[in-house]
C-alpha cells in the first residue's frame, strides 16, 4: 500500500510541475472584478456624455457634425475616457496579479507569463490598429463590436498559456461582439455588458474557484 501512495504522490507532483511550468496560474480573479468595475464606470461616463441614452442615432449629433465629420470633442472624450480606463485597469490588474503570485511563491515574470502576454497581445494589437483605421474612415458603428471580437480572440489565444476558463470568456465576448455588430445602435450597452458585467461575473467565478 505504501508503494501505491508513494507512486500517487510522485504522479501528483509531476502534474503540478507540468501545470506550473506551462501555464500562468497566478491570474487574479479579483483583478477581473476590478477591471469590470472600471469598465462599468467608464461605460456610465459614456452614458452621461451621450445625454443619458444607450441608443446611437439619438446621440449622433454628439459624434458627428452636420457635414458628417467626427467631432473633435467626441474624439477627445473617447481618448481620455479610454486612456483613463486602460491605465487604471492595467495598474490594478497587475498589482493584484503580482500579489497573488507572491502569495503562492511563484515568479511573476517568467517564460510562461511572457508567452501568455505575447499571445494575448497579437490579436489585441491587430484589433487596435483595425479600430484606428475604422475611426479614420468614420465607421464609428463598428468600433465597439470589433473591440469585443478582437478582445475575445485575444482571450482565446492567451488561454492556452493560462487558466483554461479564460477561453470561455473569450467565446462569450466574441458572440456578444457579433450580436453587437448587428444591433450596433446599442453598442454602448453591449460594451458595458462585455467589459463591465462579464468581467465582474467571471472574475467572481475565478475568485471563488481558485482563491478560496
Amino acid at each position: 500500500m505504501d508503494n501505491k501512495q508513494e507512486q500517487l504522490d510522485t504522479l501528483q507532483q509531476m502534474r503540478k510541475l507540468m501545470e506550473q511550468s506551462s501555464r500562468f496560474i497566478s491570474l487574479s480573479g479579483l483583478a477581473g472584478v476590478f477591471v469590470g468595475i472600471i469598465a462599468l464606470a467608464g461605460g456610465l461616463v459614456g452614458y452621461w456624455y451621450f445625454d443619458y441614452s444607450f441608443y446611437y442615432p439619438d446621440y449622433g449629433y454628439l459624434v458627428f457634425d452636420t457635414s458628417g465629420e467626427l467631432l473633435s470633442e467626441f474624439l477627445i472624450f473617447l481618448f481620455l475616457n479610454a486612456t483613463a480606463m486602460l491605465v487604471l485597469a492595467l495598474f490594478i490588474g497587475t498589482y493584484l496579479t503580482i500579489r497573488k503570485a507572491k502569495k503562492k511563491g511563484l515568479p511573476m515574470w517568467d517564460n510562461v507569463a511572457k508567452r501568455m502576454v505575447i499571445n494575448l497581445f497579437i490579436p489585441l494589437a491587430a484589433g487596435g490598429v483595425f479600430i484606428l483605421t475604422l475611426l479614420t474612415q468614420k465607421q464609428v458603428e463598428l468600433v465597439v463590436p470589433v473591440t469585443l471580437i478582437f478582445y475575445g480572440l485575444a482571450l482565446i489565444n492567451g488561454s492556452k498559456y493560462t487558466l483554461n476558463d479564460i477561453r470561455y470568456l473569450g467565446i462569450i465576448q466574441i458572440i456578444l461582439g457579433l450580436i453587437c455588430a448587428y444591433y450596433n445602435g446599442y453598442a454602448l450597452l453591449f460594451w458595458i455588458m462585455g467589459f463591465g458585467i462579464l468581467h465582474i461575473v467571471y472574475g467572481l467565478y475565478l475568485h471563488f474557484k481558485y482563491e478560496r
Partner: protein, 98 residues
C-alpha cells in the same frame, strides 16, 4: 506484476529526474536557472541529474549566451519523450493493480 515493474524506467526512479522531464515535456526550451528554481535544487545536484539524462540521450543541451552570460537550456528528445510516456503508463498500471 513483475512485468509491469520491469517496464518502469530505472532512469526515472529518481524524483528529480522525473521532475526535470515533467517540466521539459510541456516546454520547448527551458534554461538551467528555471529548472533550478522550480525544482528547488542546488547547482551541483541538478547538473548531475541533467548529465545522466543527457548521457542517455533523453534531453538536448544547448549552450548559448544571453549578453555575456553563459546560458544553458534543455529540451526533451524524441527518445526522452517516448520513454517518459512509457514510464507514466507503467506507473499508472502499477497504481491500478496494487
Amino acid at each position: 506484476m513483475k512485468d509491469i515493474i520491469l517496464r518502469l524506467n530505472k532512469l526515472f526512479e529518481s524524483r528529480i529526474r522525473l521532475g526535470i522531464m515533467s517540466i521539459l515535456v510541456v516546454n520547448d526550451w527551458v534554461d538551467f536557472k528555471y529548472l533550478k528554481e522550480t525544482l528547488d535544487l542546488t547547482d551541483g545536484n541538478l547538473a548531475s541529474h541533467l548529465h545522466s539524462l543527457e548521457k542517455n540521450n533523453y534531453i538536448h543541451v544547448r549552450k548559448g549566451f544571453i549578453g555575456r552570460k553563459p546560458n544553458t537550456s534543455f529540451s526533451v528528445t524524441d527518445v526522452g519523450r517516448k520513454e517518459f510516456k512509457l514510464h507514466l503508463n507503467a506507473l499508472e498500471r502499477l497504481i491500478k493493480n496494487i
